[in-house]
Every structure is written in structure tokens, then in C-alpha cells.
């Protein structure tokens, strides 16, 4: 495990998953790869915690799952954002941006 990677702050995994899925439907392994790639390997997603999160999002109706064929021609479970999921993504993105803005403001002025 690269030493410069950091663990995800509590509650951000859902946001990252939703954001990743907003581009295209992906299976679980691809979601974790994509998050690592995009964050230039800084963010390290504990692979074990990815699947409970995906199932939780599915239960809430923000993503839906269907079985399809993967890039290496295997059956895989693909997750796709629903309309409610898109709305949730907007909400969570807003909240995140407000939070980070506020935190950086505090860090800069204090």
C-alpha cells in the first residue's frame, strides 16, 4: 500500500461512489479502480467497505444494479445512478463544497 495514500474521511465514500457512477454504469471493482486513478492514488478505498456501501445505496434507491458482461467477458454486477441518485449527488456535492470552503476559511484565517 503506498504510504502517501490517505483513508477516506467518514461519510465521503457514498459521495465518491455516486460521483464515479454519474459518468457511466460500473461494476464494483471498476468503481474502486476509478476512484484511485482519478485521485492519483491518493485516496485509498478499503475494498471491503465498498460493497456494503454499494448495497446501502441500492437499498436507498440511489443506484440500481443489473448483471452485465464485463470488459474481460465475465458476468459482473453493474451499478447505475438513478434519478434520485443524481439529485442526491447534487445535494451531497453542495454540502461537501460548503464544508470544505468553510474548513479552508477557518484554516486560512485562524
Amino acid at each position: 500500500m503506498p504510504s502517501r495514500s490517505i483513508d477516506l474521511p467518514q461519510g465521503t465514500l457514498d459521495l465518491l461512489i455516486l460521483r464515479t457512477l454519474s459518468l457511466e454504469p460500473l461494476h464494483g471493482w471498476a468503481v474502486s479502480e476509478r476512484i484511485q486513478q482519478i485521485s492519483s492514488d491518493v485516496l485509498h478505498v478499503q475494498q471491503g467497505s465498498l460493497y456494503p456501501a454499494l448495497h446501502r445505496l441500492e437499498r436507498r434507491g440511489w443506484v440500481k444494479a443489473r448483471w452485465g458482461t464485463s470488459e474481460n467477458n465475465r458476468r459482473a454486477k453493474f451499478y447505475q445512478l438513478t434519478k434520485a441518485g443524481r439529485r442526491q449527488l447534487v445535494v451531497e456535492q453542495d454540502a461537501w463544497q460548503k464544508l470544505t470552503a468553510a474548513v479552508s476559511q477557518v484554516l486560512e484565517t485562524a
Partner: protein, 873 residues
């Protein structure tokens, strides 16, 4: 969103095996892709698999978390837990039986009392819109009732009823039945339709109206053979023929009265119906919908005022007070029932404390299993939940057994029930009772399962483990929860014991009250002469004299007669005036009980003559009128004087007065109840009776030896004089005395058995604690004995904690009892609710029980063989 969630969970649950397969496939796919990735980057196959698995974490744990995320895990693990709990409970039948029995006792007793409370206090009365029904506290007359109904707007209807015995003749032995003299408004007010036929209509309810009768279901069944074509048939009631026009439904009961036949008062007794100043009707009122009670009460007060102005001679002291029917009916028993309900709640608490201690002991016994499960990664919350499942399962089974016990208990309660509860001939288990049982079982299981589970998670288990490992000789277990439970249950047991002790003391005081007569060996019977055949006083007197003479000719018996028996609850009250004293204003004359007697009544009843003389044979018709008064009469009307020779008469009787001379004073007799004060009473001979309506009498027959067949012989004599006179109310004076204290006996027996149950449970609780500790400290005690400790040292060592906690509980219980027993004041007879002798007595009793409960298991400690104990190391 919520619906989606629910459907999703349900679907997941339904397709569980499919979902499990999918989960497997999904995760396997992930691992394969990850392995591929490492293989492609040049890692060896084996190393790639290893790295992928390592990165992923525990596969089973991830699966578990996924299930939980999908929301299936709760139900699934509940099913699992239940299965597991059932299996482990079946493996330890002794523990399971103890726990179920403990809870079944507590829950059963609660359910039995709750079903009575439910039936008596919570269920609505069986009348249409019964919340609109009111009863007047005082009786009234029909003319007044009709006037008030006309003058007020608040009431939809009103009705009156008076119960008098009637003779039903024509079918075998003459029978005395309860006749209800009513007006047509009564059943409109109660809102009940007859099962067959119809009710007496308003146009028939007039002087000279047709002689129609409505009969009760039981009368129809017992005396008319449940004849479906009964309508229009004639029955003979007190020498008059009535046509049956209706049969009441089977489950119908009057609010307070018992009645077999209903007839119109205006038809049956037009003269009595017209009398405004004789208030003998119970009256019931139905409010118009939406009218508040206060408004109705205000209106009726105005009507009372108008009546008082119109009839100042007789109606001056009106004051009709209306109360909701339900309150009127249950007012007397409510406080007793609520106290019993509270008491039985304490019993349940004690049972629960024992239940919790059983669970704790079991948890310690099973700590190895729990430890293994915990080290295998079972989370604490999961372990607690599993134990809760077990305790709840136990509680529900206990509740089910308790329900069966409660069913038997209510049958017993009904057999013991006092007169106030007599109209409740069945205590059904309705859905509310089932809900109650379910709720308290669930609550018990959760709450008292949580206590030990919670205390275990806080380290008591760890302590217990240490203890069991016998690694430290000083490892004395002082689980604070267990100590709390033992102290608490002893305190509660003491409160119950104090309550029971006070009731018992009050009951003994009540039973030791001198009733004023000797009830032993006296048989009583009630007779009533039909007015049609005995309209004049001489005819009545002849019948009485002849009957008495015939009974007194039996060997070994002595018989006399009185109008109303002591303790039977009835008497005729009259106002009196005293010769030579100024006549008091109308309505303020002193009121006294008036009793007519014949034969050697005072001798038979062994009522002492205090001064003057008894009646003699010469005190008869055509002779100077005489009377005997009781001591209360002298105390209230002739304080400090000798009343003998003074003359009295009924107030407002026609001039000139026919004075009665007081010839003697007899001892006071408890007429209204052992706990009631004695009212002034005047006894006069039946033969000098001047009221033809005094047609009734009660025979009192003292037998020197038990006489077989006496009742039948007396009946024969009655029927040889008149074949159509029913003989009823056959009971011994001892029975009558017992009935008069039935309510007190009921309260005492119930609270007494609750207290006994509580003491037994608390004793078992403290016993269990000491036994447990002896068991845990076998090794330490063995060492102690090996070092030469004497028996008393060992006893002191193991009993110390139990005795200390027991005493603490008793002291706390005493404080609680002093605070709580005052709610019982209304149930106690001449006993102070903080009666020191009782409190000290019950405290000593409980202390003795607690000592014994400590001593029995402590003795086991003495028999510990040091060598065996040490070898167990």
C-alpha cells in the same frame, strides 16, 4: 422512499438464497479482477491471490456487512437467535422451568387481577351509549321523577325501579322471585330491547292499565321451559295474573338490582305509585347527547327547588345528586381493586428481579461460550441482542403459562367475590387482557433481560470469569446489580407483607366486634304473606302466631320472628316523636330503625336486656302498646336518662296519638354491618303492628343440637298453613355474618396471598444469591476450613452479605411501607396504616425468612471437604 426501502428489504428477504449467490458472485468477481491485475503487473499467481485477499479483508465480515446494508440481517438474525435460544433453553430444562415458573406466577397473578380490573373498571356498561347514563344518589318517588322529567330539558329519558319480593305460584313449590316495579321509562333509558316481545309501553304504564309482565331470561328458562311461544301466556305473581309480553336477553343485567319479572308500578301498586313522599325508587337518567353533566345537575337543582316550594311538608330536604352510572356502580370497589392491582404489580417486580438474577447466573455459567463467540469476532451488540432474544422468549412463554394460571385464578376470584362484584358472573379474557399479557411479558423480557446483559457488558462477566478461574483467593463477587435486586425485592416484599398484615389485623378486629347477638346455631328463613289473602293485620298475626307455635313444638328448637335480620342490610326507618317533648319541625324528627318481633326474639338471639323487661305474651292486640329500644336510642335521644315509661309514636301519625310505652332497653345490635355504627332502634310486637304492609318476616330458629331436616319440617308447617307461600333466604346466622364481611375477607385473602407469594419469591431470591456465592467460593472456603476455621466463622463468612442486604431491604421496605400503606386507609377497620406492632411484626417475620434463606445454602458450605475443594484447583 420508505416504501422503496421496505420493498427492497422484503425482496431481499424473499429471494434470500438468490441474493446470497449474487453476493458470492459479485465478490468473487472483484477478487478475480484484482488478482488478474497483480498477475499482469508481474506478480506470481499465488502472491497475487494472497495480496488480493489481504487487501479485501475478511470475506465473511464483508458479506455480513452487505447483508446488514441490504436490511435483511435484522430479521434473519432474529430467526437465528430465536432458533438458538430455543435450542439452548431446551438443553437446560431446570433453568428454563425456574425462569418460566417465576414469570408465570408474577404474570399470572397480574393478569388475573387485570382481567377483573378490565371487566369492572375499564369495560363500558352493557347499555347503549352508557356514557350518557346517570344514577341519582338518593331514591325518589314516581310523581317527583315525572315532575322533574317534565320540567327539565337535559334528559332524553328517565326511569325508576324498586325491587320487592314476589310470590310466583302455580308451578310446583311456591317460589319467591325478585319483582321489579318499574315505570315505562326505565328500559327506554337503559336502551335495551327485549329478546322476545316488547317492553311495557307508556300508555299501559298507568293506574288501571293491563297486568303485563316482562320476564328475565333465567325466569323464562327455569320456570317457563324456554317456551318460544310464551308471549301472551299468564303467570301468577303474588296472587295476581299477569300476561307475559316480553323476555329479556340472556346477558341483560340491571345496573345494581337483581330482577326476575318486571311489572308496572302504576298497575301493580297504584296507591304506592302515587305517593310523592315515599322515596323508594332507584332512578336512572339518560342525558341528551352533548349535554354536560353540570348543566343537567343545575337544571335538576332548580326542579328540586320548585318541588320543595310546592310540597314543603315532605319535599323540603331534596338534593338530587346525579353521578355517572359507571362511577356509581364501581365507586365502592374501585379503590380496593386499584390497591390490589398495585400490590400484584409489586409481586411481578419481585418475580422479575429473580428472573434477572437467574439470567445473570446463567450468563456466568455460560461465560466460556460467550468468550469464544466474542473472540471469534461476534460484536458486543450482537451478543446482547442474542441474550435479549432468549430472555424475551422466556418471558413470552412465562406469559403464556401465566395466562393459563390467570384463567384458573379468575375462577377462584369469582368464587370469593364479595357482594359488590356479584353482577359480574363471568370474567372473560378479552383482547385487552391478551394485549396486557403480551405487553407485560415483552416488557419484562426486554427490560429484565437487558439489565443483566448490560451489566455483563460492563464487566461483571469479566469479574465473574476471574472468580471462576479461582486464581485469586480474594476474588469476592459483589455484583452491584445482584445486590440491588436482592435488596429491592426484600423491600417490596416487606411493603406487601405490611399491607397484608394491616388487612389481617383489621379483619381480625372486625371479626372480633361483638355483633350484639350470638350467631351460633341459628337458622333463618324469610317469608312474605301475599297481600291478596292477608290484607288485614289480624289475619297476618294469626298466621304468624300459629306458625311460631307449630315450630316451637318441635323438640330442641326455639323460634322467633323479626321483620329484618341484623347484618342483612335492610330495615324500615321511621321518624318518631316523644310524648312530653315539643314536636320538632316537620322533617327534623329523629329517625330510628323500626323492627317488629314475635316470640322470644331477644332470648333466641341472646340479645341482653339491659333494663326494664322483655315483651310478654300479654303484650298483644287490644292491650296497651309497648316498645323496647336499644342503647343507641337511649344514648342519642335520652342521654343520661332512664327512658322506661316514656311514650313514643311515629311522627306525623294521625291524632290522637296511639302512644307506645317504652318498657325495656336491649343491647345494641350491629344491624348495618360490623364496621358500621349502631343506629337507634325501636322494637315493637308484631301483634300490635299498625301497618298492614308489614307482611314480611324472618324466622330465627335456635337449635340446641343440629337438627336434620329442620328446614324441610319448617317448610311443611308453612305449607300446611298456606300452600302458596314461598320460603326463601334459608341461611344460618353464621353464614350471614360471613357474607357481611365478604369484601374485607376478599381483600385480605388476596393481599395475603400476594404477600405470601412475594415473601416466597424474595426468599428464593436471597437463597439463590447465597447459594451462588457459596458455589463460587468453594475453593476459598475449603482453604478456610483447612486452616482450622470453625463452623460459625464459615457461616458468618458466607451469610454476611446475604444478611446485610436482607436487613437493608427490610429497612428500606419499612420506609416504603410507611409511605405507601396510607392509601389503604379506606380498607382498614380500626387499624392505623402505620400500626407499629404490625410493621415490627412483619419486619421480624421477613427477617426470619431471609435468615433462613441465607442459612440453608450456607450450611452447604460447612460440608465442603477441604481436600476436594483444593483438588478442584
Amino acid at each position: 422512499m420508505l416504501l422503496h426501502d421496505l420493498l427492497f428489504r422484503l425482496r431481499s428477504l424473499m429471494r434470500r438464497s438468490a441474493a446470497e449467490d449474487e453476493l458470492d458472485n459479485e465478490l468473487r468477481f472483484h477478487l478475480e479482477r484484482q488478482t488478474d491485475k497483480y498477475v499482469k503487473s508481474g506478480t506470481s499467481e499465488a502472491e497475487a491471490v494472497r495480496r488480493a485477499r489481504l487487501e479485501f479483508g475478511g470475506l465473511d465480515q464483508v458479506k455480513d456487512e452487505c447483508r446488514e446494508a441490504r436490511g435483511v440481517s435484522f430479521v434473519e438474525s432474529l430467526v437465528q437467535d430465536l432458533h438458538y435460544a430455543a435450542r439452548t433453553l431446551l438443553h437446560s430444562p431446570a433453568f428454563t422451568a425456574c425462569a418460566v415458573l417465576t414469570l408465570a406466577l408474577g404474570i399470572g397473578a397480574n393478569t388475573a387481577i387485570f382481567s377483573v380490573v378490565n371487566r369492572v373498571l375499564l369495560n363500558p356498561l352493557p347499555y347503549r351509549n352508557s356514557q350518557e347514563l346517570l344514577a341519582a344518589r338518593k331514591n325518589d318517588s314516581l310523581p317527583n321523577l315525572e315532575d322533574i322529567q317534565r320540567q327539565t330539558k337535559s334528559f332524553a329519558s328517565s326511569g325508576g325501579i324498586n325491587i320487592e319480593p314476589m310470590d310466583f305460584t302455580g308451578k310446583g313449590e311456591p317460589v319467591r322471585v325478585h319483582g321489579a316495579y318499574v315505570d315505562a321509562g326505565l328500559f327506554v333509558t337503559l336502551g335495551i330491547q327485549p329478546m322476545l316481545g316488547r317492553w311495557i309501553s307508556a300508555d299501559e304504564d298507568v293506574k288501571g292499565g293491563p297486568r303485563n309482565a316482562v320476564v328475565s331470561y333465567s325466569f323464562w328458562r327455569d320456570f317457563m321451559g324456554a317456551d318460544p311461544n310464551v308471549l301472551g301466556k299468564a303467570i301468577r305473581l303474588s296472587d295476581n295474573s299477569y300476561a307475559v309480553i316480553g323476555v329479556m336477553p340472556r346477558d341483560f343485567t340491571l345496573p345494581k338490582e337483581l330482577a326476575d319479572v318486571f311489572v308496572s308500578l302504576w298497575v301493580a301498586y297504584p296507591d304506592a305509585a302515587a305517593e310523592r313522599d315515599v322515596h323508594f325508587m332507584h332512578t336512572y337518567w339518560r342525558l341528551k347527547p352533548g349535554v354536560p353533566l353540570a348543566q343537567a345537575q343545575a337544571e335538576i337543582a332548580q326542579a328540586d327547588h320548585r318541588l320543595a316550594e310546592a310540597f314543603p311538608d315532605t319535599e323540603k330536604e331534596r338534593g338530587t345528586l346525579l353521578i355517572p352510572l359507571h362511577e356509581w356502580l364501581v365507586g365502592d370497589v374501585r379503590s380496593a381493586l386499584l390497591i390490589l392491582f398495585g400490590a400484584v404489580g409489586l409481586v411481578l417486580l419481585i418475580a422479575c428481579a429473580n428472573f434477572a438474577m437467574l439470567l445473570m447466573a446463567r450468563a456466568v455459567a455460560r461465560q466460556r461460550e460467550l468468550m469464544i463467540r466474542a473472540s471469534l469476532g461476534a460484536r458486543n451488540s450482537r451478543l446482547i441482542r442474542q441474550r435479549l432474544t432468549e430472555s424475551t422468549l422466556l418471558a413470552l412463554v412465562g406469559g403464556a403459562v401465566g395466562l393459563v394460571a390467570a384463567k384458573a385464578g379468575t375462577t377462584l376470584l369469582l368464587a370469593l367475590r364479595p357482594a359488590e362484584l356479584h353482577r359480574f358472573d363471568a370474567i372473560p379474557m378479552d383482547p385487552r387482557v391478551f394485549m396486557f399479557v403480551f405487553a407485560i411479558s415483552l416488557l419484562t423480557g426486554l427490560l429484565f433481560g437487558l439489565l443483566p446483559a448490560w451489566s455483563a457488558s460492563r464487566g461483571d462477566i469479566a469479574e465473574a470469569l476471574r472468580e471462576n478461574a479461582r486464581s485469586t483467593a480474594t476474588g469476592v463477587s459483589r455484583s452491584p446489580l445482584r445486590s440491588f435486586l436482592v435488596t429491592g425485592e426484600l423491600a417490596l416484599a416487606l411493603i406487601l407483607l405490611a399491607g397484608a398484615g394491616l388487612l389481617i389485623k383489621g379483619f381480625l378486629r372486625l371479626r372480633s366486634v361483638d355483633p350484639g347477638f350470638n350467631p351460633a346455631n341459628i337458622i333463618t328463613m324469610y317469608l312474605q304473606l301475599p297481600g291478596t289473602r292477608y290484607p288485614q293485620i289480624p289475619l297476618q298475626t294469626n298466621f304468624r302466631r300459629e306458625l311460631l307455635a307449630r315450630i316451637n313444638s318441635f323438640p330442641g328448637v326455639e323460634a322467633a320472628m323479626i321483620t329484618d335480620l341484623p347484618l342483612a342490610g335492610n330495615y324500615v326507618g321511621h321518624r318518631v316523636v316523644i310524648d312530653g317533648q315539643p314536636t320538632p319541625a316537620v322533617g327534623t324528627e329523629p329517625e330510628v330503625q323500626t323492627l317488629s318481633v314475635m316470640g322470644n326474639y331477644f332470648g333466641v338471639m341472646q340479645i341482653p336486656i339491659r333494663s326494664g323487661r322483655d315483651f310478654r305474651a300479654m303484650d298483644r292486640e287490644q292491650q296497651p302498646r309497648v316498645a323496647i329500644v336499644n342503647e343507641a336510642f337511649v344514648r342519642q335521644l335520652f342521654p343520661g336518662q332512664n327512658p322506661i315509661g316514656t311514650r313514643i309514636d311515629w311522627a306525623r301519625s294521625d291524632e290522637p296519638h296511639e302512644w307506645m310505652t317504652i318498657i325495656g332497653v336491649v343491647g345494641d345490635v350491629k344491624h348495618s354491618g360490623l364496621n358500621q355504627p349502631v343506629d337507634p332502634a325501636v322494637y315493637a310486637p308484631f301483634s300490635q303492628n299498625d301497618e298492614a304492609w308489614r307482611k314480611f318476616m324472618t324466622l330465627v330458629i335456635r337449635t340446641r343440637v343440629p337438627v336434620a331436616g329442620l328446614v324441610e319440617d319448617v317448610k311443611k308447617q308453612v305449607w300446611s298453613l298456606d300452600r302458596q307461600i314461598p320460603v326463601s333466604g334459608i341461611q344460618s346466622m353464621d353464614d350471614l355474618l360471613a357474607v357481611s364481611v365478604a369484601q374485607e375477607r376478599f381483600n385480605m385473602l388476596l393481599l395475603g396471598s400476594f404477600a405470601a407469594l412475594a415473601v416466597a419469591l424474595a426468599g428464593v431470591g436471597i437463597y439463590g444469591m447465597v447459594a451462588y456465592r457459596v458455589n463460587q467460593r468453594t475453593h476459598e472456603i475449603g482453604v478456610y476450613i483447612a486452616l482450622g476455621a470453625q463452623h460459625r466463622h464459615v457461616l458468618r463468612l458466607v451469610m454476611k452479605d446475604g444478611v446485610k442486604l436482607g436487613l437493608l431491604g427490610i429497612v428500606l421496605g419499612l420506609a416504603g411501607a410507611i409511605a405507601l400503606t396510607r392509601v389503604m386507609v379506606s380498607l382498614l377497620f380500626e387499624v392505623n396504616p402505620t400500626d407499629p406492632a404490625t410493621l415490627i411484626g412483619v419486619a421480624l417475620l421477613l427477617a426470619a425468612v431471609a435468615m433462613l434463606a441465607c442459612y440453608i445454602p450456607a450450611r452447604r458450605a460447612l460440608s465442603i471437604d477441604p481436600m476436594t475443594a483444593l483438588r478442584r484447583e
